[in-house]
C-alpha cells in the first residue's frame, strides 16, 4: 500500500528503530507502535492540539509530522515528561484548579503550557490565552486552565529554579 522506511530516533530517552509506512504520522506511530496513548488524536489536521508532543525540544502537532521524517530526532511525550517529573508543578496546578475535566485535551494543553513557561516565565493572562489558542478544550471554557498556568508561573517566580 505504502512504501516503508527504516527510521531510528529517540522517544522519551529510549532508542526506537522501526520500519514505518512512509505515510504514518507521529501520533499514530506513538499510539500504535509504542503504546504511548497519552497523546490523543483529535482533528487530524493540526487544528486542535490534542496530539501535541515535543520534537527536539519544540512542540509540534503529532498529526502533521511523519514518523519517517524523524531520523535522529528526540521525541518527548506526556508520559516522558511525567516520568521525569518535569512539569509536576503544572500538573498539580491543573488538578488543584480543576483545569482538566474529560482530560482528552490535557496532555497537549500541558505540553503547550510548559513551552510557554519555558519561553516566557511570567506571561500575562492575555499572553497565556494567546499561546494556548491552538489547543481546543471543550470542557473547561479555558478560564481554569489560564488560572492554573498563571498560578504555576507565580509559584516558579517565588521559587527560583535549583540547578
Amino acid at each position: 500500500m505504502s512504501r516503508e522506511v527504516q527510521v531510528t530516533f529517540e522517544v522519551n530517552g529510549e532508542p526506537v528503530s522501526r520500519r514505518v509506512e512512509a505515510r504514518q504520522h507521529l501520533i499514530d506511530f506513538l499510539r500504535l507502535e509504542l503504546g504511548l496513548t497519552g497523546s490523543h488524536t483529535g482533528c487530524e489536521h493540526g487544528v486542535c492540539g490534542a496530539c501535541t508532543v515535543r520534537v527536539d525540544g519544540r512542540i509540534v502537532r503529532g498529526c502533521l509530522v511523519l514518523a519517517a521524517s524523524l531520523e535522529g530526532a528526540k521525541v518527548e511525550t506526556i508520559e516522558g515528561l511525567s516520568d521525569a517529573n518535569e512539569i509536576r508543578d503544572l500538573q498539580d496546578a491543573f488538578i488543584a484548579r480543576n483545569a482538566c475535566q474529560c482530560g482528552y485535551c490535557t496532555p497537549g494543553m500541558l505540553l503547550t503550557a510548559a513551552a510557554l513557561l519555558d519561553s516566557k516565565p511570567q506571561p500575562t493572562r492575555a499572553e497565556i490565552r494567546e499561546y494556548l489558542a491552538g489547543n481546543y478544550c471543550r470542557c473547561t471554557g479555558y478560564h481554569a486552565i489560564v488560572d492554573a498556568v498563571e498560578a504555576t508561573a507565580a509559584a516558579r517566580a517565588r521559587q527560583p529554579k535549583q540547578d
Binding site: 488524536t41 483529535g42 474529560c102 482530560g103 482528552y104 497565556i128 490565552r129 494556548l132 471554557g141 479555558y142
Partner: protein, 796 residues
C-alpha cells in the same frame, strides 16, 4: 440525620459536602494515563471504516467491493441488507409526544441514503488505515434523488417526501397554550416582536465517538467498550436489537473524552459495529475520524422562532406567543427522539417570568441533513434567547432599564411552589436574589457609566442580561412514560472492605464533570471516613447498580442522593455491629474519621478497620443472630416533581468594532442556583465550560449546508469553536435553594451556562448597536451579520 448536610457543619471531620475537593481521577488524566476506548487493544482486534453517502438523498444501487476486498489486510465488507438480517430495526418515537412519527432505521440503510455522511457499507480490516484505503475503493452506484434540505419548505407539497410510508415530512407538532392570548395582545400597551434563528451546530467532542465491541461465541456474551453517557441504556439497546439476552451484554465505559449529550444516543454505525462483532466473533473497533464526527454526530438547535410579547403600561408582561420550526434530519434519533428539543422550547419559553397568557407552537420536520438530537441544555439556549430577546425589546419599547424590567416581571422569590404558564412546576427558585447578586458582582452602574464614556469616544460596548431556568433531575416523565427504556432512577452500592476502606459503585457515569469526585465526597461524609479511603466505581453494567447514567443534569441530584442514602445505611450497619462488640446501643455511637466514636463525647471507641476485620475474619466472635451487612444499596428517584428546575442569570460585557463587525468578549458573569452545592470548584467549572459552549453557538459554530445538502464546513479548520484567545474571564456566583425532595438537596449545574450565554451575548450586542438602530436575532452572530445589521454588508 439532617446534620450531614448542614452547611454550618463544614468543620466537623469528614464534612466534605460543600467543599472544593479536587477530583481523584484527575491525577491520571494529567499524566496521559487515562484509558479512552481508542487506547484499548484486544487480541485479534479488527477495525471498521464506513463508506458514507456523498449525496443528501440517493438510491443506493449496485455496490462493487471487488477492488476493496483485494487489498491485503481487508477481511470483510458488510452491506445494509446483510446486517439487517441480524438486527431489529428501531423507530424513534415516544408515546407521550402525541402524534409523533419517524421511519424504521437499521444499522445501514437498505435502499436509500438520506443525508450526506450516512454510512451505507462497512469495511473490516486489520488496521483502520487499511480499512479506510478499502472504503475509498468501494464503488457505489448512487442514483441521486431530489432532497428536502431547507426546513422552511420541507412541508411544501413540492418537497420530496423523505419516507413515503410516513406520508409527509412532519415528525411532530405541539401547541402549548394557556389563557387568552389574542385578547391580551389586542389589549396590550405595546407589542414587540422578532424572528429568532438558532444556527444548527454540533458537540465537537474532542474525543470522537468510539466503540469497541467484542463478541465471544463460546460464551455467547457481547462486551462493548463504549464512550457513552448511558451504559445501562446501551446494554438494553444492544440486547434488544441484536436479539441477545440483556444479561449477555456488558457495556463498559472507561474514560470518556467529552460528551455534552452527543454520546447519549444510539448511532446506527455503532450498532453496526456490534452486529459485525457478533457476526465475525472478533473484537471490532470503530473510532470516528473528524470528518465522520461532523457528518454523523448528532447536530442540534436548527430552529426558527417567530415571537412576540405583549406588555402593559406598567411594564408587566401580559402575553408571549411563539411559533417554532425545527429541522431534525431524516430520522428521529433513537431512543430519546428528536422531538424533545422543540418540545423543550415550548415548555421553557417565558420560564423565569410571571405572566398569564401563553401560546407556543413547535413544528418538527424531516429534512435531508444530519439527524439532530439532544445536546447540552436541550432547547434551553433557544428558549432563553427568544424570551430574553423579547424582554429587552419590551424594556426598550417602554424605555425601561433591562434590569428594572426584569425586576418587575421575574417570578417573586417568595411565590413558590408555582406552575409556569407553560405548565412547568417549580418547587423553589431565586430569580430576584440571583439578579441582585449579579448586579452587585458586575457593579452595573459603573459599567453603564463606562459604556457611555466610551461611546462618546466612538467605542461601542454593550451589556446584556439573560435570566433563565434549567431543567434537572428528570423523573420518568421525561422518557420513561413515553416507552423508552431509560432509567430515571439511579442506585449506589457502598461497602466497607476488611481494611476499613470503602467502595462505592454507582449507576451514574463520569465524562469529566467530576461525578466520581462528588460521589466520593458524599460517601465519605455519609459513612464517616477520610475521603481517600473511598474508591468509586462507575461505567460498568455488570458491576454497578442499574441506572440512567449522566445526562440532563441528574448525576449529583439523583446519583448523589442514592450515594448519600447508601453511605448512611452502611454507617448504620457498622454501628449495629459496633454496638454488639462494645456492648452498647447503636444510637449512642457514631462514625468519625474511620473510627467508631461515642456519639456525645466523640471519643474514639473502635477503628472501623478492626470492626471490619472481625466481621470478615472472626465472625465467630459476634452474636450469631447479629446482621453484619457492611454493604448496602440504595436507589433514588424523584417523585413529587417531574423535574427539579434550577435558575440563574448571566451578563455579558462586550465590544463591537463597527467597521469589521468583530466582537470582543470582555467579561461574563453568571449567578446560578443549583440547590445544594456539593463541590464549588466543580460547579464553577461546569458553569464556565457550559457558558463557553453557549458562546460557541452564539458567535461561531454553524453547520453550513449547500442548497443540495452538502455540509460545507466539516472540519475543525472550517467549523469554528471557541478557543482560549477569544474567550473572556467568567465570574461565577451562587444562590442555594436546595430541593426538598432529597436529603442532599442537590439539583443539576451542568447546563445552566449553556442555557443563558447566547441570550446574554445577543442582548449585549444589541445594546452596543443601539446608537445605530441595528439589531441581530440570528445566531451565530458573525461579523458578516453584524455588518449586515449596520447596513454595511449584504445579509445572507
Amino acid at each position: 440525620m439532617n446534620e450531614i448536610i448542614d452547611p454550618g457543619s463544614v468543620d466537623r471531620p469528614n464534612s466534605y459536602i460543600g467543599k472544593s475537593v479536587p477530583r481523584p481521577n484527575a491525577a491520571k488524566l494529567v499524566e496521559g494515563r487515562g484509558q479512552y476506548v481508542d487506547d484499548l487493544l484486544l487480541p485479534r482486534l479488527l477495525h471498521v471504516a464506513f463508506v458514507r453517502s456523498p449525496h443528501a438523498h440517493a438510491k443506493i444501487g449496485n455496490l462493487d467491493a471487488s477492488a476493496a476486498l483485494r487489498l491485503p489486510g481487508v477481511r470483510r465488507l458488510f452491506t445494509g441488507s446483510e446486517l439487517a438480517q441480524h438486527c431489529e430495526p428501531w423507530v424513534a418515537v415516544l408515546a407521550h409526544l402525541k402524534g409523533m412519527k419517524s421511519a424504521p432505521q437499521l444499522p445501514l440503510p437498505l435502499e436509500r441514503a438520506t443525508w450526506v455522511g450516512e454510512a451505507v457499507a462497512a469495511v473490516v480490516a486489520d488496521s483502520r488505515a487499511v480499512a479506510e484505503d478499502a472504503a475509498a475503493k468501494v464503488a457505489v452506484a448512487y442514483e441521486p434523488l431530489p432532497a428536502a434540505v431547507d426546513m422552511e419548505t420541507a412541508l411544501d407539497p413540492a418537497s420530496v417526501v423523505i419516507h413515503p410510508l410516513l406520508g409527509d415530512n412532519l415528525c411532530f407538532e405541539r401547541l402549548n397554550e394557556t389563557g387568552k392570548v389574542e385578547e391580551a395582545f389586542a389589549a396590550a400597551h405595546r407589542v414587540v416582536e422578532a424572528t429568532f434563528h438558532s444556527g444548527r451546530h454540533t458537540g465537537a467532542t474532542l474525543e470522537p465517538r468510539s466503540i469497541l465491541a467484542d463478541y465471544n461465541r463460546a460464551s455467547g456474551k457481547l462486551t462493548v467498550y463504549h464512550s457513552t453517557q448511558a451504559p445501562h441504556m446501551m446494554q438494553g439497546v444492544f440486547a434488544k436489537h441484536l436479539r441477545l439476552a440483556e444479561g449477555d451484554v456488558r457495556v463498559i465505559c472507561t474514560d470518556v473524552g467529552g460528551s455534552y449529550g452527543i454520546k447519549v444516543h444510539v448511532y446506527p454505525d455503532e450498532v453496526a459495529v456490534a452486529v459485525i462483532a457478533k457476526l465475525m466473533g472478533r473484537p471490532i473497533k470503530f473510532i470516528a475520524d473528524r470528518l465522520e464526527s461532523f457528518v454523523s454526530d448528532i447536530h442540534a438547535r436548527d430552529h426558527r422562532i417567530k415571537a412576540r410579547m405583549a406588555v402593559d403600561a406598567q411594564g408587566h408582561i401580559t402575553a408571549i406567543d411563539i411559533d417554532d420550526l425545527t429541522g431534525i434530519g431524516p430520522y428521529s434519533v433513537y431512543p430519546r427522539t428528536s422531538a424533545v428539543e422543540g418540545n423543550q422550547v415550548v415548555n421553557l419559553v417565558g420560564g423565569p417570568y410571571a405572566f398569564a397568557n401563553f401560546r407556543a407552537k413547535t413544528t418538527v420536520v424531516f429534512q435531508n441533513k444530519t439527524p439532530t438530537c439532544q445536546y447540552r441544555a436541550v432547547g434551553h439556549p433557544i428558549a432563553t434567547a427568544v424570551t430574553e430577546g423579547l424582554v429587552d425589546l419590551a424594556a426598550g419599547a417602554l424605555d425601561l432599564d433591562p434590569v428594572e424590567f426584569r425586576r418587575r416581571n421575574l417570578m417573586k422569590d417568595d411565590s413558590y411552589p408555582r406552575t409556569s404558564p407553560a405548565g412547568m412546576k417549580f418547587e423553589g427558585l431565586s430569580h430576584e436574589q440571583s439578579l441582585d447578586t449579579l448586579v452587585g458582582m458586575m457593579d452595573y452602574p459603573a459599567l453603564r457609566a463606562e459604556q457611555s464614556r466610551l461611546r462618546a469616544l466612538g467605542v461601542h460596548r454593550g451589556i446584556g442580561f439573560a435570566s433563565f431556568i434549567e431543567l434537572t433531575n428528570p423523573s420518568p416523565f421525561m422518557y420513561g412514560v413515553g416507552g423508552a427504556r431509560i432509567s430515571a432512577q439511579d442506585g449506589c452500592s457502598v461497602r466497607v472492605d476488611p481494611d476499613g476502606s470503602v467502595v462505592a459503585a454507582t449507576g451514574v457515569t463520569e465524562q469529566g464533570q467530576g461525578t466520581e469526585a462528588i460521589i466520593r465526597q458524599i460517601v465519605a461524609e455519609a459513612v464517616g471516613v477520610p475521603i481517600d479511603w473511598v474508591r468509586v466505581l462507575t461505567g460498568d453494567t455488570l458491576t454497578t447498580p442499574y441506572g440512567g447514567g449522566t445526562w440532563a443534569c441528574r448525576g449529583a441530584g439523583i446519583g448523589g442522593e442514592a450515594a448519600l442514602q447508601a453511605g448512611l445505611a452502611v454507617k448504620q450497619a457498622a454501628l449495629r455491629v459496633a454496638a454488639a462488640m462494645l456492648q452498647g446501643k447503636p444510637d449512642a455511637l457514631d462514625m468519625s474519621d474511620g473510627q467508631i466514636v461515642d456519639a456525645v463525647s466523640r471519643q474514639p471507641r473502635l477503628p472501623l478497620a478492626e470492626l471490619a476485620r472481625i466481621v470478615y475474619f472472626r465472625g465467630d466472635t459476634l452474636p450469631p443472630d447479629l446482621p453484619r451487612e457492611l454493604m448496602q444499596t440504595r436507589h433514588f428517584i424523584t417523585k413529587q416533581y417531574p423535574f427539579a428546575f434550577t435558575n440563574g442569570v448571566q451578563a455579558s460585557w462586550l465590544e463591537i468594532d463597527v467597521e469589521t463587525g468583530m466582537i470582543r468578549l470582555i467579561k461574563h458573569w453568571c449567578v446560578e442556583d443549583c440547590g445544594r452545592i456539593i463541590n464549588p470548584l466543580l460547579v464553577d467549572e461546569q458553569v464556565r465550560g457550559g457558558i463557553v459552549q453557549g458562546l460557541g453557538g452564539a458567535l461561531y459554530e454553524h453547520c453550513l449546508y449547500s442548497p443540495t445538502g452538502q455540509l460545507l464546513n466539516a472540519s475543525m479548520a472550517d467549523y469554528l469553536v471557541p478557543m482560549a484567545a477569544e474567550m473572556p474571564d467568567i465570574e461565577v456566583g451562587h444562590v442555594e435553594t436546595p430541593t426538598k425532595e432529597s436529603l442532599l438537596g442537590a439539583k443539576g449545574a451542568g447546563e445552566a451556562g449553556t442555557a443563558g450565554a447566547p441570550a446574554a451575548v445577543m442582548n449585549a450586542i444589541n445594546d452596543a448597536l443601539k446608537p445605530f438602530g441595528a439589531k441581530v436575532f440570528a445566531q451565530p452572530f458573525t461579523p458578516e451579520r453584524i455588518l449586515a445589521a449596520l447596513g454595511k454588508a449584504k445579509a445572507r
